[in-house]
């Protein structure tokens, strides 16, 4: 399961077919250099965003926006976490550790 997921993820994000990679990359948020790779992202209700810690330090991605609360806790480098958003609205996503890291996921 784990190995399969790794393959999946590699497929979705680092996939050899550039057209796939480019589109898929829109759905993931990278954290290299203590910044989110995008400031804003749009998804449909029930869709997921993959938060990828491709940095050298742990990150704690979370949100307290009503209906879409989540807290990934301290996520080690080399770990990606999918988060599915079920309520339409604007989700303010932060990293609890690094105040420079802020972004918005718009769910509609």
């Amino acid at each position: 399961m784990k190995r399969f997921s790794t393959f999946c993820y590699a497929f979705a994000v680092f996939g050899g077919v550039s057209a796939v990679a480019a589109v898929a990359a829109d759905q993931s948020v990278h954290q290299k250099g203590r910044v989110f790779s995008v400031e804003a992202l749009k998804v449909k209700t029930g869709e997921a965003v993959v938060f990828v810690n491709d940095d050298t330090v742990p990150h704690n991605v979370m949100s307290t926006s009503a209906g879409n609360e989540f807290n990934l806790g301290s996520v080690a480098p080399g770990t990606a976490m999918p988060v599915k958003f079920d309520k339409a609205g604007s989700v303010q996503v932060i990293c609890a550790i690094h105040p420079r890291m802020k972004m918005t996921v718009t769910v509609d």
Binding site: F11, V20, R34, V49, G67, F70, A80, M81, D86, A96
Partner: protein, 363 residues
Amino acid sequence: MPNIVFRGPVLRSAALACLASIAAAALAGSQTFAAATIGAPITVPVPAPQKGSAESLKDEYRRPAEIPFPASNPFTPEKLKLGKTLYYDTRLSGSGAQSCASCHNPGYGWGDGLAKGVGDGMKELKRRSPTIVNAAWGLIFMWDGRAPSLEEQALGPIQAAVEMNMPIEKLLERLNSITEYKTLFEAAFPGEGITPAGIGKAIATFERTAISGWAPFDSWIDGDAKAISASAQRGFALFNGKAQCNTCHVGWNFTDDSFHDIGLPDADIGRGAFLGVAVKMRQAFKTPGLRDISRRSPFMHDGSMATLEAVVEHYDTGGVARPSRSDLIKPLGLTVEEKADLVAFLKTLSGSSDVIAQPIQPR
């Protein structure tokens, strides 16, 4: 899962299998209340940390050429003059005995040399007075991050009962009764009179000019190979390597402006007061910069460490292991020599100490 466009039959089936597995994983880890659903963690390849040359590592520590002033409060010499005068004026406190400089004194590396600040009525504060040196580069202020800007921060201690204990209306009245202040405010903020916003902007402008001086470390970064000792050079390598201090003390000012619990034994919850839902923020404090560090012992938010040797000893043991402690803090296994090298390195960060002229206070 998101609307990923997959091309070709083989890729498509692989992709569908992927989606199914991720969806299943998401369900497995699902929470029951109305909230976003967290899926199972996925291991991803992380590019190995670049084993850059010593030279490219040095580039990360080069001093910036200019002080950043925000567009909302650009530098003017008039604001600087007013701000410096206010900063040193004890009449900003209710007792008339304390100024900002009482606790953020250039003579003590812009701190006060005490383990905990001493406020109105000589009462001890909860935490140590931090330095304001290089605050121009700061992102968020106070040990627990409760102040978003220097402009807003300045009005806090003036009014805080435990610190300067001066209601803002009373302060405006007092400043208005001093003719020279009217002139200083008019020059800095023409036509605006004496306002709380003006006080904040002027003091912030002055604070942004409190910069750490050129240090032996800077000469070394600049190419003078003999500017720091061999021991300090080994300390620099440890700082960026085995001791991994640079995972939090980042860049030329040695801070990530972020919050970590480094395992100090006191009970202060720090950042936890604002982000208590995040376990890692309970007992987390803002990473202090390390410029001019040897000028402002004792160290830490509670002033609990008298020397840099004690600080390095703390990191070597990893402090109190608890859920909130940063994953980056763990026993380091440093040798006696390595500890001495780290301390030698930290001591190269203190700059030339210019004499700072105190302003003559307006009457």
